[in-house]
Amino acid sequence: MKRILTPLALVSILIGLTWWMTSLKTVGIYRIPAPSEVLRWTLEHLLLVLTAEGLAIAVGVPIGFLVSRRAFRWIGTALMLTVNIGQTVPTLALLAITSIALGMGFRAAVVGLFVYALLPIVRNTYAGLLSVDPSVKEAAWGMGMSKWQITTRVELPLARPVIVAGIRTSTAVNVGTAAVAGMIGGIGLGSLITIGLAVNVVEMVLQGAAPAAALAILLDLIFGEVERWMTPRGLRKATASGSRHGKRRGVLAADKA
């Protein structure tokens, strides 16, 4: 219960904070956005994150799977290196590049976030499949399982917790990155933060940051449950430490937002 209640308590504090800021109506000469506006931005933020995430899952898992196959493993090593370097490119720089290419707006933001979300997913899918104990695969071969059966009955179930953990991490990170996207495209909660910073109104910045943090925690919580649910019972003991790690990363991402 603590696993669920602690994040929920944090979320309610953050929502309370947002509500309080909204109730101020004005700060100095500036009008503070109404709850309906904050809600609209939050939903836009969520849509941005989920679109990018959905695309990243659809593309990332198959890529990770392919490069883990023996025939493509030589690409795998090189690709993982690229992926790791790719992740060091600053968020802002990447979003600037996509905006120049696609013009400012939702599309550019989605593409930028997609690239960002892709990396952890590809990496975790690849690592998850490679981490399957070779003797388990050997036993499967030796008992006469076909390639397809080994993939669907052995490799994917065993790699699934790691893959879902990758999705969970990338989602949490993306809520934060999406806030940066707002700076460029004027979409989502990021635009509130940008405006607030521009006019130097802390209340407005908080109105953007607090819901973004709440969103990150909430999504992390949901994916954490999905991860647990997707982890085969026989593996739960082994992955307990892994999911704790994921949770910590999620909170960090929320702080960033």
């Binding site: 003797s135 388990v136 695969k137 050997e138 036993a139 030796g142 006469g144 082994a238």
Partner: protein, 370 residues
Amino acid sequence: MIRLENVSKVYPDGTEAVRNLSLEIAKGEFCVFLGPSGCGKTTSLKMINRLIPTTGGKIYIDGVDTSERNVNELRRGIGYAIQNIGLFPHLTVAQNIATVPKLKRWPREKRRARARELLDLVGMAPDTFLDRYPCELSGGQQQRVGVARCLGADPPILLMDEPFGAIDPITRQRLQGEFLKIQERLKKTIVFVTHDIDEAIKMGDTIALMKDGDLVQYAEPATLLAEPKTRFVRDFVGADRVLKGLRLLKARDVMTRPKVILRRDESVERAAEILDSARRQWAAAVDEAGRFHGWVEREDLKTASMLDEALTPAVTTASPRTPLNEALSMMLGSATGSVAVLDEDGRFLGLLSFNAIRDVLRSSHDEEGE
């Protein structure tokens, strides 16, 4: 049953793992591939179920060339157990055991019943273990499940690659013994890889000793011990091969029926009389059903009022099937220096004495002409 004809394996880099291996394994035979690491024994084993493709020669199972069969069908008909076990961690014990039955599309109830039966066979309580996961089992239990799994669909052939290699010596000995008992009942054709000469002698009907990809000697354990073909075989088998030969003899081969056996309900005086007249210091005591109860020593009779009071229970007893090397260590721990051999119901069959074992050792030594 299994016939290898000039089988060889050359890797692309030119390494010859196996050279022109030819041998035949009869139906119901327990054949051990033995040799130091890198001798090609595992490679040879894996070529039988085509986990490693051959680069030359043919392998026949029941007269059919394995390379002409569907590879998955072939493997489903051959049990496979490996040292690292490779249980599926995300599946229960029952699901693990029923892997091949599931591949063969057995109905659910039949698979469950089979898992239950096999778990029972390997000495694990089905009700306790069927729904556990591998991570909840000890190493020895996992190994048992591994053995049960390779028997899943009742294949006529088992390939076992050091299946008891990764467990502690005491558990290993027990599993070896239990597996031999299972084999006595099931009569599978088994190819068993090990680098442990003691295991090979204990388990195998025949031993194929390999070195650097060549078959050096293919013979029964007794022949391998008594007539090593080359210096390598002699060295590999070891200097204590006469002692190892004890493993091949069972208690029933050398036990003797003592002249004096005491009835437990005998009076102390009568017992003393019997011992004295036979000039014995001790004798075995049995009840009216012939069941063994312990030893009676002449010394103890002096102070006893009933025979039961003078009774020293035996620490260990042997069965007719106990190998002599084990009996020898039992003797060292026995007060009388002898071991009682009992049948399954505890009835006294005979005695193993140190003298009897010494005679056996001496005669096998003489046979070698050394």
